[in-house]
């Protein structure tokens, strides 16, 4: 995480409250504090469900929804939840929204539900969501938490699509199911297998860090 949030001392706590939502709350998740490329959080779904662009998009949107809702509920209940039971409460809130998302995906498409499989339920333990609840939503207003959740969620979706697109094109010769490479292209099967996830993630991290360094030098 780029800059740590104010620790919840009394003065900092109330100081945070008075701050009004700013565009930075939204923007930081997209690029500067991107959950995958910068914070390197939530690796399990990132590596597992990014084998096709469609899966990556669906997983990203499902996570965004859960993150958004849990951030808002955690933020609105932040005076009601005692410190000692906060983690249990956050997990309960997150699990509730994951269950709701699971039902909604089943209602949208059984095939999609099948291809995401067990990873929908595993959103519960995505450390990105718990991380945002603990580090941000529990200390900030609903408006700010909403923007933070939206930014982080879309940043996560963006990162997943980056991985999914590369893996699908290289491993299957298609993008969103449409052929994009010439017919005589020999697919690199390894790219849609778990190992390909690691390769692709490493390459994207390399690119991101190179960009960051260049900017720091300039």
């Amino acid at each position: 995480m780029g800059k740590p949030n104010t620790p919840s001392t009394n003065s900092g706590f109330w100081a945070n409250l008075r701050e009004s939502p700013s565009t930075d709350d939204f923007i930081k998740g997209l690029w500067r504090e991107n959950p995958v490329f910068v914070q390197v959080l939530g690796m399990c779904p990132t590596l597992a469900v990014s084998n096709t662009t469609m899966n990556a998009l669906a997983m990203g949107l499902a996570t965004t929804f859960v993150l958004l809702m849990s951030n808002m509920l955690v933020s609105s209940l932040r005076f009601f939840i005692p410190k000692q039971v906060r983690i249990a409460s956050y997990i309960l809130i997150i699990a509730t929204f994951v269950t709701i998302t699971d039902y909604m995906i089943q209602a949208i498409s059984v095939d999609l539900h099948k291809s995401l499989g067990a990873f929908i339920s595993l959103i519960v333990v995505n450390c990105l969501i718990l991380g945002r609840a603990e580090a941000f939503a529990s200390k900030n207003t609903i408006g700010k938490s909403f923007l933070d959740g939206l930014g982080m969620g879309l940043g996560f979706t963006f990162a997943l699509i980056c991985l999914g697109a590369v893996r699908e094109i290289m491993g299957n010769g298609t993008l969103l199911g449409f052929g994009v490479l010439p017919g005589n292209f020999q697919e690199w099967i390894v790219m849609i297998l778990p190992a390909g996830g690691f390769f692709t993630l490493a390459l994207w991290l390399l690119l991101f860090n190179a960009l960051k360094e260049k900017r720091a030098q300039a």
Partner: protein, 232 residues
């Protein structure tokens, strides 16, 4: 002194009542939201599942163009079912080819996999006495390992012609299907297992085994009913 003591003991009590209130309150809110979401999505999910089942039936019986649902009555006879079938009733689906001949029968079976219940559908051809198709309807097996039972082509090839012939007495299977180690299949009633999905592929073998043991004699005996029905 005494007063201080009681205050010390009072403080945690107040705290834990607050914690209790927070957890119970949150639990009630969350339960309410889950119930609402469940009720709201239920009709759509059931509709989707029915459509998926319909597609699966056509997948497991090669060459079929129309189908008829048959209901199993308590005295073990099959009768053609109407449009509205009770959800808990046991049914099989007979598939017919272009000339209206019986192409196969799709049977749903379920059993315990590695994680949660596995629901599968298989197609049975009463003429060749073989299983001709197989499809996993529902599974929560481990991604990358157990879920190979859904897509591993070598494993699925087992079900292109799995022998489930009956003995002369027409009530027991000559050779009940069984899962063997990957690559060890030598007989037509054996299922080649998957390395890395040992438990899941064995579970599939056990599900097919118990389901065929029960259904195949019944389907063989009542072939006439299944054949002579005007299809819809």
């Amino acid at each position: 002194m005494k007063k201080a003591d009681s205050q010390e003991t009072m403080a945690p009590a107040a705290e834990s009542s607050k914690m209790l209130r927070a957890m119970v309150g949150l639990g009630v809110i969350c339960a309410l939201m889950i119930v609402l979401a469940f009720e709201w999505t239920k009709p759509r999910i059931e509709q989707n599942k029915a459509a998926a089942l319909e597609q699966a039936i056509f997948k497991v019986i090669p060459g079929m163009v129309s189908k008829q649902t048959f209901l199993l009555t308590p005295d073990n006879t099959l009768v053609p079912a109407g449009a509205n079938v009770d959800k808990n009733a046991e049914v099989v689906y007979a598939g017919y080819d272009k000339e209206g001949k019986l192409a196969g029968i799709a049977v749903e079976a379920s059993g315990l996999g590695f994680a949660d219940v596995l629901r599968v559908l298989y197609g049975y051809n009463p003429e060749t006495e073989k299983i001709v198709g197989f499809f996993v309807l529902e599974s929560k097996e481990t991604p990358g390992l157990g879920d190979k039972i859904e897509k591993d082509p070598q494993f699925l090839a087992n079900f292109a012609g799995l022998d489930v012939a009956l003995k002369e007495d027409k009530v027991t299977l000559k050779n009940p299907p069984v899962t063997v180690k990957a690559g060890m299949k030598t007989n037509p009633w054996e299922i080649d297992g998957i390395t890395g999905a040992t438990i899941s592929s064995r579970a599939i073998g056990a599900i097919i085994n118990s389901s065929t043991t029960r259904w195949v004699p019944m389907l063989q005996q009542q072939q006439a009913t299944l054949r002579n029905t005007t299809t819809n």
